[in-house]
């Protein structure tokens, strides 16, 4: 069974906010989050973010962004709405007003995809896309009636929780990817994912004074997550490549998330890439948009005309869960 990335699209709000202003407004939150770190680590936490602005939901909420992205992706794939067999929503922070409703179910109604199988899961963070791809492929392999799948994510943090230091600053976005078994689009060669459950609370959604909040355990991130962060990613990349009888040298495009510039530099160092091997992304303008990052960066490469038939794409990311994922596709 061959599964291909038929299309992809993303949508961001028009409104934006300066990252410096966000950090200033959320100063108490930042100081509280970093209080457990050494002075050196606190200093490093705000260096090298590479994020200047973030897009913020105003008049349009995450579902509106997801609907726009999904509609664009379906149009590009020339799929009629009734042709959708599966919708997977992998939003991690879908928004305070929408957390009781799965975007997948809502999309099914909005898109008149009445008979699609709808599924929603949370907590994959930036790596949610890989889990969604793997789940869709597994369902396709298991059920011959599922031939076209729509994968979506739309994320916005609870009010006052945009800073996730020492990691990143979150921007809002919605994105969509269509997978199908018909020819057209990059063929997925391998998907590798892993989660380590004991790290579930390194970054997690909680309630503070009755309000939703994102709790960031900075010390746990420094001492428990970071030592294995690149290691697990590296191992998954090697596993994915080996399963397709390929090596790092075969990869034409590395599509990695926009957590921060220093994280992207770390990813590059991990793989021994030169500066030009990891292309510039719109991260300075959009901030870190969780799993939408990969689709934004994929679309950016496509819009630049950088992806050519036969080239090998490696999508990689890690995030909340704690989750690591790699997807390999041949254009």
């Amino acid at each position: 069974m061959k599964v291909r990335i038929a299309s992809a699209a993303y949508a961001v709000p028009r409104e934006s906010e300066n990252v410096e202003a966000v950090l200033s407004r959320e100063r108490d939150r930042v100081e509280a989050a970093l209080a457990s770190l050494s002075a050196r680590s606190r200093h490093k936490a705000t260096l090298g973010l590479g994020l200047e602005r973030v897009r913020v939901c105003g008049s349009r909420q995450p579902f509106d962004l997801v609907l726009e992205a999904a509609s664009a992706a379906l149009q590009e794939a020339s799929l009629a709405q009734g042709d959708l067999d599966l919708i997977i929503d992998f939003s991690t922070f879908p928004g305070e007003n929408s957390h009781q409703v799965s975007f997948a179910h809502k999309l099914s109604a909005e898109l008149n995809a009445e008979t699609s199988l709808n599924l929603s899961f949370k907590a994959g963070g930036c790596a949610g896309l890989h889990i969604a791809v793997k789940t869709a492929m597994a369902l396709m392999a298991n059920d011959g009636k599922i031939r076209n799948a729509l994968l979506v994510t739309g994320d916005t943090p609870p009010q006052g929780n945009r800073t996730l230091l020492p990691v990143t600053v979150q921007g809002d976005a919605g994105s969509a990817m269509v997978l199908r078994q018909q020819p057209g689009g990059p063929e997925i060669l391998a998907v590798q994912v892993m989660t380590l459950g004991h790290l579930y609370d390194a970054i997690c959604l909680t309630r503070e004074n009755g309000r939703l909040a994102i709790a960031v355990d900075a010390l746990r991130i420094e001492n428990a997550v970071m030592p294995i962060y690149y290691l697990n990613l590296y191992r998954l990349i090697q596993d994915a490549l080996a399963s397709a009888s390929l090596t790092l040298d075969d990869v034409d495009h590395f599509i990695y998330s926009n957590i921060s510039q220093r994280d992207r530099d770390g990813f590059g160092r991990m793989l021994g890439l030169s500066e030009n091997d990891l292309p510039k992304t719109p991260m300075a303008e959009y901030g870190h948009t969780f799993a939408s990052d990969l689709i934004i960066n994929y679309q950016t490469l496509r819009q630049q005309g950088s992806i050519h038939p036969g080239q090998l794409l490696l999508f990689a990311s890690a995030g909340i869960g704690f989750t690591w994922g790699v997807t390999l596709a041949r254009a």
Partner: protein, 91 residues
């Protein structure tokens, strides 16, 4: 693989040598058996990739993802205990 010493595989010496030769921050530092390697900043998250690969290759063992954490690899003492456990469970 490490040299046999009193019936045991030598573990700390090759690992100490690897760290001093490959980890920038450890090059000019005396690495003691209890020196905190990760939480002390001698080995960063990129350095972990090489360290784990070295240990696995040198001692012919393979770590499960759940076995690799900062706590278990944070000193030569702990690395020795972990490697001995792995070698023991292999036998």
């Amino acid at each position: 693989m490490g040299t046999a010493k009193e019936g045991l595989v030598e573990i700390k010496s090759p690992v100490r040598r690897y760290i001093q030769e490959n980890c920038f921050f450890a090059a000019s530092t005396q690495i003691g058996d209890a020196t905190p390697l990760i939480t002390g900043g001698f080995i960063d998250s990129i350095g972990m990739i090489g360290l784990v690969a070295f240990i696995e290759e040198h001692f012919k063992i393979e770590f499960l993802p759940t076995e690799i954490n900062a706590q278990g690899l944070d000193s030569l003492d702990r690395i020795e205990a972990l490697v001995r456990h792995k070698i023991g469970s292999r036998a």
